[in-house]
Protein backbone atom coordinates (compact mmCIF):
# COMPACT_ATOMS: atom_id res chain seq x y z
CA UNK A 1 0.00 0.00 0.00
CA UNK A 2 2.75 2.41 0.91
CA UNK A 3 4.51 1.56 -2.30
CA UNK A 4 1.33 2.27 -4.20
CA UNK A 5 0.86 5.62 -2.51
CA UNK A 6 4.47 6.57 -3.15
CA UNK A 7 4.30 5.58 -6.79
CA UNK A 8 0.87 6.90 -7.69
CA UNK A 9 -0.20 9.69 -5.39
CA UNK A 10 3.16 11.33 -4.93
CA UNK A 11 3.43 11.86 -8.66
CA UNK A 12 -0.25 12.23 -9.47
CA UNK A 13 0.36 15.05 -11.96
CA UNK A 14 2.18 12.65 -14.31
CA UNK A 15 -0.61 10.09 -14.04
CA UNK A 16 -3.22 12.72 -14.82
CA UNK A 17 -1.28 13.86 -17.88
CA UNK A 18 -0.87 10.31 -19.18
CA UNK A 19 -4.57 9.49 -18.65
CA UNK A 20 -5.67 12.71 -20.37
CA UNK A 21 -3.30 12.04 -23.24
CA UNK A 22 -4.76 8.56 -23.74
CA UNK A 23 -8.32 9.92 -23.63
CA UNK A 24 -7.35 12.39 -26.34
CA UNK A 25 -5.69 9.73 -28.47
CA UNK A 26 -8.76 7.51 -28.11
CA UNK A 27 -10.96 10.38 -29.28
CA UNK A 28 -8.79 10.98 -32.35
CA UNK A 29 -8.73 7.32 -33.34
CA UNK A 30 -12.18 6.06 -32.40
CA UNK A 31 -14.56 8.92 -33.18
CA UNK A 32 -16.14 9.14 -36.58
CA UNK A 33 -17.30 12.73 -36.22
CA UNK A 34 -14.61 15.19 -37.35
CA UNK A 35 -15.47 17.78 -34.68
CA UNK A 36 -15.09 15.10 -32.01
CA UNK A 37 -11.72 14.22 -33.50
CA UNK A 38 -10.67 17.86 -33.11
CA UNK A 39 -11.86 17.81 -29.49
CA UNK A 40 -9.77 14.68 -28.97
CA UNK A 41 -6.77 16.46 -30.48
CA UNK A 42 -7.32 19.39 -28.10
CA UNK A 43 -7.44 17.11 -25.07
CA UNK A 44 -4.26 15.44 -26.30
CA UNK A 45 -2.47 18.78 -26.62
CA UNK A 46 -3.78 20.07 -23.29
CA UNK A 47 -2.41 16.98 -21.54
CA UNK A 48 1.07 17.89 -22.72
CA UNK A 49 0.57 21.50 -21.61
CA UNK A 50 -0.39 20.23 -18.13
CA UNK A 51 2.79 18.18 -18.01
CA UNK A 52 4.91 21.23 -18.80
CA UNK A 53 3.11 23.44 -16.30
CA UNK A 54 3.43 20.89 -13.51
CA UNK A 55 7.17 20.74 -14.28
CA UNK A 56 7.54 24.36 -13.25
CA UNK A 57 5.64 24.00 -9.98
CA UNK A 58 7.50 24.34 -6.69
CA UNK A 59 5.81 23.46 -3.40
CA UNK A 60 4.92 26.68 -1.61
CA UNK A 61 6.40 28.73 -4.45
CA UNK A 62 5.16 32.22 -5.24
CA UNK A 63 5.00 34.21 -8.44
CA UNK A 64 8.50 34.69 -9.86
CA UNK A 65 8.93 38.41 -9.18
CA UNK A 66 12.43 38.45 -7.77
CA UNK A 67 13.40 40.97 -5.09
CA UNK A 68 16.17 40.86 -2.50
CA UNK A 69 13.72 41.26 0.37
CA UNK A 70 11.67 38.24 -0.68
CA UNK A 71 14.75 36.03 -0.98
CA UNK A 72 15.94 37.04 2.48
CA UNK A 73 12.55 36.12 3.92
CA UNK A 74 13.06 32.65 2.46
CA UNK A 75 10.40 32.65 -0.24
CA UNK A 76 10.82 30.22 -3.15
CA UNK A 77 9.68 30.88 -6.70
CA UNK A 78 8.05 28.68 -9.28
CA UNK A 79 9.96 28.22 -12.54
CA UNK A 80 8.37 30.61 -15.05
CA UNK A 81 10.03 29.23 -18.19
CA UNK A 82 7.70 26.23 -18.80
CA UNK A 83 4.73 28.58 -18.45
CA UNK A 84 6.14 30.87 -21.10
CA UNK A 85 6.83 27.93 -23.41
CA UNK A 86 3.29 26.71 -22.96
CA UNK A 87 1.85 30.13 -23.79
CA UNK A 88 3.55 29.73 -27.16
CA UNK A 89 2.34 26.16 -27.51
CA UNK A 90 -1.23 27.23 -26.68
CA UNK A 91 -1.10 29.78 -29.49
CA UNK A 92 0.07 27.04 -31.83
CA UNK A 93 -2.73 24.76 -30.63
CA UNK A 94 -5.37 27.48 -31.14
CA UNK A 95 -4.09 28.05 -34.68
CA UNK A 96 -4.21 24.33 -35.41
CA UNK A 97 -7.77 24.13 -34.10
CA UNK A 98 -8.79 27.12 -36.22
CA UNK A 99 -7.37 25.56 -39.39
CA UNK A 100 -8.98 22.21 -38.54
CA UNK A 101 -12.40 23.78 -37.92
CA UNK A 102 -12.23 25.78 -41.14
CA UNK A 103 -11.38 22.59 -43.03
CA UNK A 104 -14.42 20.91 -41.45
CA UNK A 105 -16.65 23.82 -42.51
CA UNK A 106 -15.36 23.55 -46.10
CA UNK A 107 -15.95 19.78 -46.03
CA UNK A 108 -19.48 20.33 -44.76
CA UNK A 109 -20.14 22.66 -47.70
CA UNK A 110 -18.65 20.15 -50.11
CA UNK A 111 -20.12 16.88 -48.85
CA UNK A 112 -23.00 17.95 -46.57
CA UNK A 113 -21.66 15.86 -43.70
CA UNK A 114 -19.03 15.90 -40.99
CA UNK A 115 -18.98 12.13 -40.46
CA UNK A 116 -15.69 10.73 -41.69
CA UNK A 117 -17.19 7.55 -43.17
CA UNK A 118 -19.75 9.57 -45.20
CA UNK A 119 -17.03 11.81 -46.59
CA UNK A 120 -14.84 8.86 -47.60
CA UNK A 121 -17.89 7.26 -49.23
CA UNK A 122 -18.75 10.41 -51.18
CA UNK A 123 -15.17 11.21 -52.18
CA UNK A 124 -14.87 7.73 -53.68
CA UNK A 125 -17.54 8.73 -56.19
CA UNK A 126 -15.28 11.54 -57.38
CA UNK A 127 -12.68 8.96 -58.36
CA UNK A 128 -8.99 9.89 -58.39
CA UNK A 129 -8.01 7.38 -55.71
Amino acid sequence: MEWFVAKVFAKYNYWVFIILMMIGLYGIIAKNNLIKKIIGLNIFQTAIFLYFISLGAVKGGTAPIVSEEMIQKGYVYVNPLPHVLILTAIVVSVATTAVALSLVIRMHHEYGSIEESDIIEKSKDQGMT
Binding site: I28, I48, Y51, V92, T96, E110, I120, S123
Partner: protein
Protein backbone atom coordinates in the same frame (compact mmCIF):
# COMPACT_ATOMS: atom_id res chain seq x y z
CA UNK B 1 35.59 41.08 -36.33
CA UNK B 2 31.91 41.13 -37.23
CA UNK B 3 31.01 40.30 -40.77
CA UNK B 4 27.79 41.59 -42.27
CA UNK B 5 27.06 38.04 -43.39
CA UNK B 6 26.61 37.05 -39.75
CA UNK B 7 23.26 38.87 -39.74
CA UNK B 8 21.97 36.86 -42.70
CA UNK B 9 20.59 33.85 -40.74
CA UNK B 10 18.06 36.02 -38.97
CA UNK B 11 17.42 38.21 -42.02
CA UNK B 12 16.47 35.16 -44.09
CA UNK B 13 13.63 34.45 -41.65
CA UNK B 14 12.59 38.05 -41.01
CA UNK B 15 12.52 39.11 -44.68
CA UNK B 16 10.32 36.16 -45.48
CA UNK B 17 7.73 36.91 -42.80
CA UNK B 18 7.69 40.62 -43.70
CA UNK B 19 7.22 39.71 -47.32
CA UNK B 20 4.17 37.60 -46.40
CA UNK B 21 2.54 40.70 -44.86
CA UNK B 22 3.63 42.90 -47.77
CA UNK B 23 2.10 40.50 -50.27
CA UNK B 24 -1.19 40.58 -48.39
CA UNK B 25 -1.35 44.39 -48.42
CA UNK B 26 0.09 44.97 -51.90
CA UNK B 27 -2.00 42.15 -53.35
CA UNK B 28 -5.12 43.75 -51.91
CA UNK B 29 -4.36 46.84 -54.00
CA UNK B 30 -3.19 45.01 -57.11
CA UNK B 31 -3.11 41.24 -57.24
CA UNK B 32 -0.46 40.97 -59.96
CA UNK B 33 2.17 42.23 -57.52
CA UNK B 34 1.95 39.12 -55.32
CA UNK B 35 4.09 36.97 -57.59
CA UNK B 36 6.76 39.63 -58.10
CA UNK B 37 7.19 40.28 -54.38
CA UNK B 38 7.34 36.58 -53.58
CA UNK B 39 9.82 35.91 -56.35
CA UNK B 40 12.04 38.89 -55.44
CA UNK B 41 12.09 37.85 -51.77
CA UNK B 42 13.03 34.29 -52.58
CA UNK B 43 15.75 35.44 -54.96
CA UNK B 44 17.17 37.64 -52.20
CA UNK B 45 16.97 34.81 -49.67
CA UNK B 46 18.64 32.40 -52.07
CA UNK B 47 21.55 34.77 -52.70
CA UNK B 48 21.85 35.37 -48.94
CA UNK B 49 21.96 31.61 -48.34
CA UNK B 50 24.83 31.27 -50.85
CA UNK B 51 26.76 33.95 -48.97
CA UNK B 52 26.07 32.13 -45.70
CA UNK B 53 27.36 28.86 -47.16
CA UNK B 54 30.54 30.54 -48.42
CA UNK B 55 31.11 32.24 -45.07
CA UNK B 56 30.55 29.02 -43.13
CA UNK B 57 33.00 27.12 -45.31
CA UNK B 58 35.73 29.73 -45.27
CA UNK B 59 35.43 31.44 -41.88
CA UNK B 60 33.48 29.07 -39.65
CA UNK B 61 30.20 28.60 -37.80
CA UNK B 62 27.93 31.64 -37.46
CA UNK B 63 26.27 32.14 -34.08
CA UNK B 64 23.64 34.85 -33.96
CA UNK B 65 22.15 35.89 -30.61
CA UNK B 66 18.60 37.09 -30.95
CA UNK B 67 18.07 40.37 -29.14
CA UNK B 68 21.61 40.18 -27.77
CA UNK B 69 20.60 37.68 -25.05
CA UNK B 70 23.39 35.31 -24.19
CA UNK B 71 22.61 31.63 -24.73
CA UNK B 72 21.45 29.38 -23.04
CA UNK B 73 18.95 32.01 -21.81
CA UNK B 74 18.36 33.66 -25.16
CA UNK B 75 17.49 32.05 -28.46
CA UNK B 76 20.47 31.45 -30.70
CA UNK B 77 20.65 30.91 -34.44
CA UNK B 78 23.52 28.66 -35.45
CA UNK B 79 24.71 28.15 -39.01
CA UNK B 80 27.18 25.37 -39.61
CA UNK B 81 28.00 23.43 -42.77
CA UNK B 82 24.97 21.14 -42.32
CA UNK B 83 22.22 23.72 -42.15
CA UNK B 84 23.87 26.13 -44.58
CA UNK B 85 23.81 23.29 -47.13
CA UNK B 86 20.15 22.46 -46.38
CA UNK B 87 19.20 26.16 -46.55
CA UNK B 88 20.66 26.50 -50.05
CA UNK B 89 18.75 23.44 -51.30
CA UNK B 90 15.52 24.57 -49.69
CA UNK B 91 15.62 28.11 -51.06
CA UNK B 92 16.68 26.93 -54.50
CA UNK B 93 13.71 24.60 -54.86
CA UNK B 94 11.38 27.21 -53.35
CA UNK B 95 12.59 29.71 -55.96
CA UNK B 96 12.10 27.24 -58.80
CA UNK B 97 8.60 26.42 -57.58
CA UNK B 98 7.60 30.07 -57.31
CA UNK B 99 8.72 30.73 -60.88
CA UNK B 100 6.67 27.74 -61.99
CA UNK B 101 3.64 28.91 -60.03
CA UNK B 102 3.24 32.15 -62.04
CA UNK B 103 1.08 30.49 -64.70
CA UNK B 104 -0.06 27.46 -62.78
CA UNK B 105 -1.65 29.25 -59.82
CA UNK B 106 -3.53 31.69 -62.08
CA UNK B 107 -4.94 28.60 -63.75
CA UNK B 108 -5.60 26.41 -60.70
CA UNK B 109 -6.59 28.96 -58.05
CA UNK B 110 -7.63 32.10 -59.95
CA UNK B 111 -9.50 33.58 -56.96
CA UNK B 112 -6.80 32.89 -54.39
CA UNK B 113 -3.56 34.16 -55.93
CA UNK B 114 -2.79 36.67 -53.17
CA UNK B 115 -3.58 34.34 -50.28
CA UNK B 116 -1.60 31.57 -51.96
CA UNK B 117 1.59 33.63 -52.04
CA UNK B 118 1.02 34.94 -48.50
CA UNK B 119 0.80 31.44 -47.10
CA UNK B 120 3.62 30.28 -49.37
CA UNK B 121 5.93 32.88 -47.83
CA UNK B 122 4.87 31.75 -44.36
CA UNK B 123 5.76 28.20 -45.37
CA UNK B 124 9.23 29.37 -46.42
CA UNK B 125 9.56 31.28 -43.13
CA UNK B 126 8.87 28.11 -41.20
CA UNK B 127 11.25 26.01 -43.27
CA UNK B 128 14.08 28.56 -42.99
CA UNK B 129 13.39 28.81 -39.27
CA UNK B 130 13.69 25.07 -38.71
CA UNK B 131 16.95 25.14 -40.60
CA UNK B 132 18.68 28.09 -38.95
CA UNK B 133 17.62 27.73 -35.33
CA UNK B 134 19.89 26.48 -32.56
CA UNK B 135 17.16 26.25 -29.95
CA UNK B 136 15.07 23.12 -29.74
CA UNK B 137 11.81 24.75 -28.61
CA UNK B 138 12.18 27.34 -31.32
CA UNK B 139 12.48 24.45 -33.76
CA UNK B 140 9.13 23.08 -32.53
CA UNK B 141 7.46 26.45 -33.14
CA UNK B 142 8.89 26.66 -36.67
CA UNK B 143 7.84 23.06 -37.41
CA UNK B 144 4.30 24.06 -36.50
CA UNK B 145 4.45 27.22 -38.65
CA UNK B 146 5.59 25.08 -41.57
CA UNK B 147 2.91 22.46 -40.99
CA UNK B 148 0.07 24.94 -40.55
CA UNK B 149 0.91 26.67 -43.82
CA UNK B 150 1.29 23.29 -45.50
CA UNK B 151 -2.20 22.21 -44.32
CA UNK B 152 -3.81 25.30 -45.82
CA UNK B 153 -1.85 25.07 -49.08
CA UNK B 154 -2.78 21.40 -49.53
CA UNK B 155 -6.44 22.19 -48.91
CA UNK B 156 -6.43 25.10 -51.39
CA UNK B 157 -7.82 23.07 -54.30
CA UNK B 158 -10.89 22.08 -52.28
CA UNK B 159 -12.95 18.87 -52.63
CA UNK B 160 -10.93 15.72 -51.93
CA UNK B 161 -7.88 17.77 -50.95
CA UNK B 162 -9.79 18.91 -47.86
CA UNK B 163 -9.97 15.37 -46.54
CA UNK B 164 -6.28 14.83 -47.32
CA UNK B 165 -5.36 18.02 -45.52
CA UNK B 166 -7.46 17.10 -42.48
CA UNK B 167 -5.76 13.71 -42.16
CA UNK B 168 -2.37 15.40 -42.42
CA UNK B 169 -3.43 17.96 -39.82
CA UNK B 170 -4.45 15.34 -37.26
CA UNK B 171 -1.36 13.17 -37.79
CA UNK B 172 0.97 16.15 -38.07
CA UNK B 173 -0.34 17.61 -34.80
CA UNK B 174 0.17 14.30 -33.02
CA UNK B 175 3.72 14.21 -34.39
CA UNK B 176 4.42 17.75 -33.25
CA UNK B 177 2.96 17.00 -29.80
CA UNK B 178 5.25 13.99 -29.44
CA UNK B 179 8.18 16.20 -30.39
CA UNK B 180 7.06 18.75 -27.78
CA UNK B 181 6.73 16.03 -25.15
CA UNK B 182 10.23 14.79 -25.96
CA UNK B 183 11.53 18.33 -25.49
CA UNK B 184 9.67 18.44 -22.17
CA UNK B 185 11.45 15.29 -20.99
CA UNK B 186 14.84 16.70 -21.95
CA UNK B 187 13.98 19.97 -20.24
CA UNK B 188 12.91 18.14 -17.08
CA UNK B 189 16.33 16.48 -16.89
CA UNK B 190 18.62 19.33 -17.91
CA UNK B 191 16.69 22.58 -17.55
CA UNK B 192 17.95 23.86 -20.88
CA UNK B 193 16.59 24.23 -24.39
CA UNK B 194 19.64 25.43 -26.30
CA UNK B 195 20.96 22.62 -28.50
CA UNK B 196 24.62 23.26 -27.81
CA UNK B 197 23.96 23.59 -24.09
CA UNK B 198 21.90 20.38 -24.09
CA UNK B 199 24.72 18.46 -25.77
CA UNK B 200 27.03 19.53 -22.91
CA UNK B 201 24.53 18.83 -20.11
CA UNK B 202 23.14 15.52 -21.36
CA UNK B 203 26.11 13.05 -21.31
CA UNK B 204 25.89 12.22 -17.56
CA UNK B 205 22.22 11.32 -18.06
CA UNK B 206 22.57 9.07 -21.13
CA UNK B 207 21.47 6.02 -19.13
CA UNK B 208 18.51 7.89 -17.66
CA UNK B 209 15.10 6.46 -18.63
CA UNK B 210 13.59 9.94 -19.02
CA UNK B 211 16.24 10.93 -21.56
CA UNK B 212 15.72 7.69 -23.50
CA UNK B 213 11.94 8.20 -23.48
CA UNK B 214 12.46 11.78 -24.62
CA UNK B 215 14.60 10.62 -27.53
CA UNK B 216 12.01 8.00 -28.47
CA UNK B 217 9.22 10.60 -28.50
CA UNK B 218 11.31 12.94 -30.65
CA UNK B 219 12.13 10.15 -33.13
CA UNK B 220 8.49 9.06 -33.46
CA UNK B 221 7.23 12.64 -33.69
CA UNK B 222 9.65 13.55 -36.46
CA UNK B 223 9.07 10.22 -38.23
CA UNK B 224 5.41 11.17 -38.61
CA UNK B 225 6.46 14.54 -40.00
CA UNK B 226 8.86 12.96 -42.50
CA UNK B 227 6.43 10.17 -43.44
CA UNK B 228 8.72 7.29 -42.55
CA UNK B 229 6.93 4.01 -43.26
CA UNK B 230 4.62 2.89 -41.50
CA UNK B 231 3.79 6.45 -40.37
CA UNK B 232 3.36 7.63 -43.96
CA UNK B 233 -0.42 7.28 -44.27
CA UNK B 234 -1.09 11.02 -44.57
CA UNK B 235 1.40 11.48 -47.38
CA UNK B 236 -0.05 9.99 -50.59
CA UNK B 237 -3.34 11.91 -50.54
CA UNK B 238 -1.74 15.14 -49.38
CA UNK B 239 0.86 14.98 -52.16
CA UNK B 240 -1.55 13.86 -54.83
CA UNK B 241 -4.22 16.53 -54.45
CA UNK B 242 -2.16 19.62 -53.62
CA UNK B 243 -1.31 22.11 -56.40
CA UNK B 244 1.77 20.96 -58.36
CA UNK B 245 4.31 23.34 -56.84
CA UNK B 246 3.12 22.47 -53.34
CA UNK B 247 3.47 18.76 -54.12
CA UNK B 248 7.01 19.44 -55.27
CA UNK B 249 7.75 21.44 -52.11
CA UNK B 250 6.14 18.82 -49.86
CA UNK B 251 8.02 15.98 -51.41
CA UNK B 252 11.28 17.70 -52.17
CA UNK B 253 11.64 19.95 -49.15
CA UNK B 254 9.13 19.68 -46.32
CA UNK B 255 9.63 16.01 -45.47
CA UNK B 256 13.37 16.44 -45.98
CA UNK B 257 13.64 19.40 -43.67
CA UNK B 258 11.95 17.14 -41.11
CA UNK B 259 14.68 14.59 -41.73
CA UNK B 260 17.19 17.41 -41.29
CA UNK B 261 15.54 18.15 -37.92
CA UNK B 262 15.99 14.50 -37.04
CA UNK B 263 19.68 14.56 -38.01
CA UNK B 264 20.16 17.76 -36.04
CA UNK B 265 18.55 16.38 -32.88
CA UNK B 266 20.28 13.00 -33.17
CA UNK B 267 23.78 14.35 -33.81
CA UNK B 268 23.84 17.84 -32.28
CA UNK B 269 21.66 17.46 -29.18
CA UNK B 270 22.46 13.83 -28.57
CA UNK B 271 25.85 12.78 -29.87
CA UNK B 272 27.34 9.80 -31.61
CA UNK B 273 28.19 8.34 -28.18
CA UNK B 274 24.52 8.20 -27.19
CA UNK B 275 23.51 6.70 -30.52
CA UNK B 276 26.07 3.93 -30.07
CA UNK B 277 24.73 3.17 -26.60
CA UNK B 278 21.44 1.80 -27.88
CA UNK B 279 20.64 -0.13 -31.07
CA UNK B 280 18.58 2.84 -32.33
CA UNK B 281 20.24 3.13 -35.70
CA UNK B 282 20.14 -0.61 -36.38
CA UNK B 283 16.38 -0.51 -35.89
CA UNK B 284 16.22 2.60 -38.07
CA UNK B 285 18.04 0.73 -40.87
CA UNK B 286 15.48 -2.07 -40.80
CA UNK B 287 12.52 0.32 -40.72
CA UNK B 288 14.05 2.21 -43.63
CA UNK B 289 14.63 -1.02 -45.53
CA UNK B 290 10.97 -1.95 -45.15
CA UNK B 291 10.00 1.61 -46.19
CA UNK B 292 12.02 1.30 -49.41
CA UNK B 293 10.40 -1.97 -50.47
CA UNK B 294 6.89 -1.13 -49.28
CA UNK B 295 6.95 2.35 -50.86
CA UNK B 296 8.11 0.96 -54.19
CA UNK B 297 5.58 -1.88 -54.23
CA UNK B 298 2.72 0.45 -53.33
CA UNK B 299 3.87 2.84 -56.07
CA UNK B 300 3.49 0.06 -58.66
CA UNK B 301 -0.16 -0.44 -57.72
CA UNK B 302 -1.15 3.21 -58.29
CA UNK B 303 -3.11 4.43 -61.31
CA UNK B 304 -2.82 8.13 -60.49
CA UNK B 305 0.58 9.57 -61.49
CA UNK B 306 0.91 11.99 -58.56
CA UNK B 307 -0.04 9.27 -56.05
CA UNK B 308 2.57 7.02 -57.63
CA UNK B 309 5.19 9.73 -57.18
CA UNK B 310 4.03 10.22 -53.59
CA UNK B 311 4.61 6.55 -52.77
CA UNK B 312 7.97 6.83 -54.46
CA UNK B 313 8.71 9.63 -51.97
CA UNK B 314 7.97 7.20 -49.13
CA UNK B 315 10.59 4.88 -50.61
CA UNK B 316 13.04 7.75 -50.99
CA UNK B 317 12.65 8.81 -47.37
CA UNK B 318 13.62 5.21 -46.71
CA UNK B 319 16.86 5.76 -48.68
CA UNK B 320 17.69 8.86 -46.65
CA UNK B 321 16.93 7.19 -43.33
CA UNK B 322 18.86 4.06 -44.33
CA UNK B 323 21.86 6.26 -45.08
CA UNK B 324 21.42 8.02 -41.72
CA UNK B 325 21.12 4.65 -39.99
CA UNK B 326 24.37 3.44 -41.55
CA UNK B 327 26.19 6.69 -40.81
CA UNK B 328 27.58 5.81 -37.36
CA UNK B 329 29.20 2.58 -38.50
CA UNK B 330 30.88 3.81 -41.69
CA UNK B 331 34.16 5.69 -41.43
CA UNK B 332 35.87 5.15 -44.78
CA UNK B 333 35.97 8.23 -47.04
CA UNK B 334 34.33 9.28 -49.32
CA UNK B 335 31.08 7.55 -48.34
CA UNK B 336 31.61 8.01 -44.62
CA UNK B 337 29.15 9.31 -42.08
CA UNK B 338 26.29 11.44 -43.27
CA UNK B 339 27.63 11.98 -46.80
CA UNK B 340 25.21 9.58 -48.60
CA UNK B 341 22.22 10.86 -46.59
CA UNK B 342 22.90 14.53 -47.28
CA UNK B 343 23.68 13.72 -50.89
CA UNK B 344 20.34 12.04 -51.33
CA UNK B 345 18.50 14.94 -49.68
CA UNK B 346 19.73 17.21 -52.49
CA UNK B 347 19.30 14.58 -55.19
CA UNK B 348 15.78 13.69 -54.15
CA UNK B 349 14.81 17.37 -54.05
CA UNK B 350 15.98 17.78 -57.66
CA UNK B 351 14.44 14.57 -59.04
CA UNK B 352 11.12 14.67 -57.22
CA UNK B 353 10.79 18.41 -57.77
CA UNK B 354 11.17 17.86 -61.51
CA UNK B 355 8.76 14.90 -61.60
CA UNK B 356 6.01 16.67 -59.66
CA UNK B 357 6.36 19.87 -61.69
CA UNK B 358 6.17 17.86 -64.92
CA UNK B 359 3.09 16.02 -63.61
CA UNK B 360 1.63 19.44 -62.82
CA UNK B 361 2.29 20.56 -66.40
CA UNK B 362 0.37 17.54 -67.75
CA UNK B 363 -2.56 18.51 -65.52
CA UNK B 364 -2.29 22.17 -66.52
CA UNK B 365 -2.35 21.50 -70.27
CA UNK B 366 -4.60 18.48 -70.58
CA UNK B 367 -6.08 17.76 -67.12
CA UNK B 368 -4.40 14.37 -67.18
CA UNK B 369 -4.24 12.61 -63.79
CA UNK B 370 -4.30 8.91 -64.63
CA UNK B 371 -1.33 7.12 -66.18
CA UNK B 372 -3.49 5.29 -68.72
CA UNK B 373 -4.55 8.61 -70.29
CA UNK B 374 -0.96 9.56 -71.13
CA UNK B 375 -1.01 8.00 -74.60
CA UNK B 376 0.79 10.10 -77.18
CA UNK B 377 1.93 12.63 -74.61
CA UNK B 378 5.53 12.25 -75.79
CA UNK B 379 4.54 13.84 -79.09
CA UNK B 380 2.12 16.33 -77.67
CA UNK B 381 4.37 17.82 -74.98
CA UNK B 382 7.88 16.77 -76.08
CA UNK B 383 9.96 18.96 -73.77
CA UNK B 384 7.99 18.26 -70.59
CA UNK B 385 7.92 14.55 -71.37
CA UNK B 386 11.66 14.54 -72.05
CA UNK B 387 12.30 16.24 -68.71
CA UNK B 388 10.03 13.73 -67.01
CA UNK B 389 11.94 10.84 -68.59
CA UNK B 390 15.27 12.35 -67.59
CA UNK B 391 14.18 12.64 -63.95
CA UNK B 392 12.62 9.16 -64.10
CA UNK B 393 15.79 7.46 -65.34
CA UNK B 394 17.59 9.39 -62.65
CA UNK B 395 15.23 7.87 -60.06
CA UNK B 396 15.93 4.43 -61.51
CA UNK B 397 19.63 5.11 -61.17
CA UNK B 398 21.17 5.26 -64.63
CA UNK B 399 24.71 6.69 -64.55
CA UNK B 400 25.74 9.50 -64.41
CA UNK B 401 22.49 10.84 -62.98
CA UNK B 402 22.09 11.95 -59.37
CA UNK B 403 20.01 8.89 -58.48
CA UNK B 404 22.87 6.65 -59.55
CA UNK B 405 25.40 8.49 -57.40
CA UNK B 406 23.36 8.39 -54.21
CA UNK B 407 22.46 4.71 -54.68
CA UNK B 408 26.12 3.90 -55.34
CA UNK B 409 27.23 5.66 -52.18
CA UNK B 410 24.56 4.05 -50.01
CA UNK B 411 25.48 0.61 -51.39
CA UNK B 412 29.19 1.20 -50.73
CA UNK B 413 28.36 2.35 -47.20
CA UNK B 414 26.19 -0.74 -46.60
CA UNK B 415 29.01 -2.99 -47.81
CA UNK B 416 31.45 -1.32 -45.45
CA UNK B 417 29.01 -1.65 -42.54
CA UNK B 418 28.76 -5.37 -43.43
CA UNK B 419 24.99 -5.16 -43.89
CA UNK B 420 24.76 -6.93 -47.20
CA UNK B 421 21.00 -7.36 -46.91
CA UNK B 422 20.55 -3.63 -47.56
CA UNK B 423 22.56 -3.89 -50.76
CA UNK B 424 19.97 -6.41 -51.90
CA UNK B 425 17.16 -4.09 -50.79
CA UNK B 426 18.61 -1.22 -52.83
CA UNK B 427 19.11 -3.31 -55.95
CA UNK B 428 15.59 -4.73 -55.66
CA UNK B 429 14.17 -1.25 -55.23
CA UNK B 430 15.99 -0.04 -58.35
CA UNK B 431 14.25 -2.84 -60.21
CA UNK B 432 10.89 -1.84 -58.74
CA UNK B 433 11.61 1.79 -59.70
CA UNK B 434 12.20 0.63 -63.22
CA UNK B 435 8.86 -1.18 -63.22
CA UNK B 436 6.75 1.76 -62.19
CA UNK B 437 8.52 4.43 -64.17
CA UNK B 438 8.74 2.31 -67.30
CA UNK B 439 4.96 1.92 -67.24
CA UNK B 440 4.60 5.72 -67.48
CA UNK B 441 7.31 6.14 -70.11
CA UNK B 442 5.86 3.32 -72.21
CA UNK B 443 2.39 4.90 -72.15
CA UNK B 444 3.77 8.31 -73.08
CA UNK B 445 5.94 7.24 -76.00
CA UNK B 446 5.05 3.79 -77.28
CA UNK B 447 1.31 3.37 -76.97
CA UNK B 448 -0.68 5.00 -79.72
CA UNK B 449 -3.08 7.82 -79.04
CA UNK B 450 -6.84 7.26 -79.03
CA UNK B 451 -7.99 6.06 -82.40
CA UNK B 452 -5.39 3.37 -82.76
CA UNK B 453 -4.01 3.63 -86.28
CA UNK B 454 -0.34 4.60 -86.53
CA UNK B 455 -0.69 7.37 -89.10
CA UNK B 456 -3.16 9.03 -86.78
CA UNK B 457 -0.65 9.56 -84.02
CA UNK B 458 1.52 11.82 -86.19
CA UNK B 459 -1.38 14.23 -86.43
CA UNK B 460 -1.19 15.13 -82.75
CA UNK B 461 -0.28 18.77 -82.64
CA UNK B 462 2.38 20.05 -80.32
CA UNK B 463 0.84 21.68 -77.30
CA UNK B 464 3.63 22.57 -74.91
CA UNK B 465 3.39 24.13 -71.46
CA UNK B 466 4.10 27.90 -71.28
CA UNK B 467 7.68 29.14 -70.89
CA UNK B 468 7.33 30.03 -67.19
CA UNK B 469 6.44 26.43 -66.41
CA UNK B 470 8.81 24.80 -68.87
CA UNK B 471 11.93 26.67 -67.76
CA UNK B 472 11.85 25.38 -64.12
CA UNK B 473 11.12 21.82 -65.27
CA UNK B 474 14.00 21.81 -67.75
CA UNK B 475 16.35 23.45 -65.23
CA UNK B 476 15.66 20.73 -62.66
CA UNK B 477 15.89 17.97 -65.26
CA UNK B 478 19.27 19.14 -66.52
CA UNK B 479 20.49 19.58 -62.94
CA UNK B 480 19.65 15.90 -62.36
CA UNK B 481 22.50 15.06 -64.74
CA UNK B 482 24.81 18.01 -64.04
CA UNK B 483 24.76 17.44 -60.28
CA UNK B 484 25.43 13.74 -60.86
CA UNK B 485 28.61 14.61 -62.76
CA UNK B 486 29.58 17.13 -60.07
CA UNK B 487 29.10 14.50 -57.36
CA UNK B 488 31.22 12.02 -59.28
CA UNK B 489 33.91 14.70 -59.65
CA UNK B 490 33.58 15.23 -55.86
CA UNK B 491 33.27 19.00 -56.23
CA UNK B 492 30.67 19.59 -53.44
CA UNK B 493 32.40 17.11 -51.10
CA UNK B 494 34.21 19.66 -48.84
CA UNK B 495 30.81 20.76 -47.47
CA UNK B 496 29.84 17.23 -46.48
CA UNK B 497 33.32 16.47 -45.10
CA UNK B 498 32.97 19.47 -42.85
CA UNK B 499 29.60 18.17 -41.59
CA UNK B 500 31.13 14.78 -40.82
CA UNK B 501 34.07 16.21 -38.93
CA UNK B 502 31.62 18.42 -37.01
CA UNK B 503 29.78 15.38 -35.68
CA UNK B 504 32.85 13.20 -35.23
CA UNK B 505 31.93 10.85 -38.06
CA UNK B 506 35.14 10.92 -40.05
CA UNK B 507 38.40 9.09 -39.47
CA UNK B 508 40.51 12.16 -38.96
CA UNK B 509 40.03 14.04 -35.67
Amino acid sequence: MIYFVEHFPVLVVVISILSAITILIAGWIHRKTAWFISMATLLGQFIASLFILRHVLTVGTIRYRLGGWVPPWGIEYVMDALNAYILVILLFLALVCVIYSKKNIEHELPQKVVSFYTVYQLLITGLCGITVTGDIFNMYVFIEITSLSAYTLIASRGKIALKASFTYLVLGSIGACFFLLGIGFLYAVTGSLNMHDLSILLPPFYKNRVVMAGFAFIIVGLSIKMALFPLHTWLPDAHAFAPAEISAMLSGIIIEVSSYAFIRVAFSVFTVHFLKLLPIFDILCWVAGVAIIAGSVLAITQVNLKRMLAYSSVANMGYIMLAVGLSTSVMEAPWNGLTPALMHILNHALMKGCLFLAAGAFIYKADLWLIKDFRGLGKRMPYTSAAFVLAAISMIGVPPSVGFVSKLYIILAAIEAKKIIFVAVLLLSSLLNLVYFWRVIETMYMKRAEGGDPSHSTLISKDEAPFWMLAPILTLASLCIVMGVLWLAKIPMPILDQVNSLFGLSKMP
